[in-house]
Symmetry: C2
Subunit: 285 residues, 2 copies
């Protein structure tokens, strides 16, 4: 089988890279600098697949991914990756002994938020600077040994850029995982060993009209069929405050008779439904 081209949210040593490498060790992984670029690359056929973050235990849904899938493209989710997230405080080896005197700490806004308490209580005097990604922050620290700066990033970034882990596991909550979607133009699915047994279907929808109880009615479609929802999320429609679309994760296969019935009824209720497909979940390192 030909080697696949797979876009991921870079740079190399990002959490997305680690997740993608875990499930696609043999494929050609290509870093892209933003989530829209990853998804566009699939939609335009420049790559076969893309791996992008969709949700983190602490930070919640990644709005850009969800919005882009709803508003901008017609693609499918063919697999879900779940990875444990561990954040460390990294410094240049020259400054390993002086990490308590850091003058600035760089990282992605999500990583800074994930370590909020640690930073607030242990390093409250150190200014924080938001940066494009955890790995880019690590690279910056590696390139500026003369500056007393640190980065919050993963162990793979420390290794890649030759940095010292000054403080390990500084994230506030220790059940910190991120979900990644594997995106394709085809409504297929990744079917390999080591998957979790349950299949999941993701549906994006808008409610019929702004009538009282519309969401309740939509949930009734699933409830009486005992179709279990593992997630429901509202996102603004970008038209006016108070207008939303919804992401619903159902623990079922879209080809099951009950699911086919549910989807038909959602249409009949006046919902606009955009199914993203049925897929398995894989745990990656």
């Amino acid at each position: 089988m030909a080697v696949k081209d797979i876009a991921y949210l870079g740079p190399e040593a990002s959490f997305t890279y680690l997740a993608a490498k875990g499930i696609f060790p043999q494929e050609n992984l290509q870093p892209f600098t933003s989530i829209p670029e990853c998804i566009e690359a699939v939609a335009e056929g420049k790559v076969d697949l893309a791996v992008v973050p969709i949700e983190n235990t602490l930070e919640g849904t990644v709005p850009l991914t969800l919005d882009y899938l709803f508003h901008e493209v017609n693609v499918f989710v063919i697999g879900e990756l779940v990875s444990k997230i561990q954040q460390h405080l990294l410094v240049h080896p020259q400054n390993a002994e002086r990490w308590e005197q850091l003058e600035k700490i760089y990282s992605h806004p999500h990583a800074l938020a994930q370590c909020h308490k640690y930073l607030y209580y242990r390093l409250s005097q150190v200014p924080l600077q938001q940066y494009g990604s955890t790995a880019a922050a690590a690279k910056l620290v590696a390139e500026n040994p003369d500056q007393l700066i640190g980065a919050i990033a993963n162990a793979s970034a420390a290794e890649k850029y030759g940095l010292t882990i000054a403080q390990e596991n500084i994230h506030d909550f220790h059940f910190n995982h991120t979900r990644f979607f594997v995106i394709s133009r085809e409504n297929t699915r990744i079917d390999e060993a080591h998957k979790r047994p349950d299949k999941k279907t993701t549906i994006l929808l808008t409610l019929p009209t702004d009538r009282s109880g519309a969401l309740h009615q939509v949930l009734s479609v699933f409830a009486w069929r005992q179709l279990n929802l593992s997630k429901i999320e509202s996102r603004p429609l970008k038209t006016a405050l108070g207008e939303y679309f919804f992401l619903i994760d159902v623990l079922a296969d879209e080809e099951e008779p009950m699911m086919r019935g549910a989807m038909e009824e959602l249409g009949a209720l006046g919902c606009t439904v955009k199914p993203l497909g049925t897929y398995y979940t894989y745990e990656t390192p």
Copy 2:
């Protein structure tokens, strides 16, 4: 009446400042550098009130505000402010003619996201740099006239820091509003002229157990009473992927008999309920 101390998410000329100034023109507005610090200042009694962003038309809920209100403090929402958000590309007056040759554009991640299409199609060669706030980015540009850099920020920041508006209204969607919560330790409410007629009650809750259809059951409590929900939002509980708490906005007063009945039943169903109070909505410039 004594002048009130009111914390807001700074710096001065931030969108939060504009909203706060609109409703509290006579009070002592104090900038704080983060949302948790604003809310903590109220909880600890250092200030009387705080104004913090809770939701934007494009970006959705501000996770930090919602999480902090749920996990960290016991405070109330006593009013809601709604402001129109207009983003401009600002440059130093010296560089007014050369805005198309900018070497970097700084702004808050939300502002960058709000102008994503404009930046992608018109200025795709210019690197973007996330920054703590739109106003701080404007300040940076003002302090570095020799650098070809720009900021995305509002007109008030342009005025305060003496910058030129190189490109006006570059936000992608033109129904862009932000909601702000006015936070207090007392469960009271702001009751002035020029408010919208409807009262709104915000409730945070966790579902009884992870049983199928629990959310449907919760929504039934409101649906059969014809209590209209204007918003429902799920946020991770930070314990494991797939466990959430919910924010529900109900267009009703918590003192109405139907609402008292609904709140009682939510408790009886096994929900943990944290009511944030009933409040009015004010449009501010």
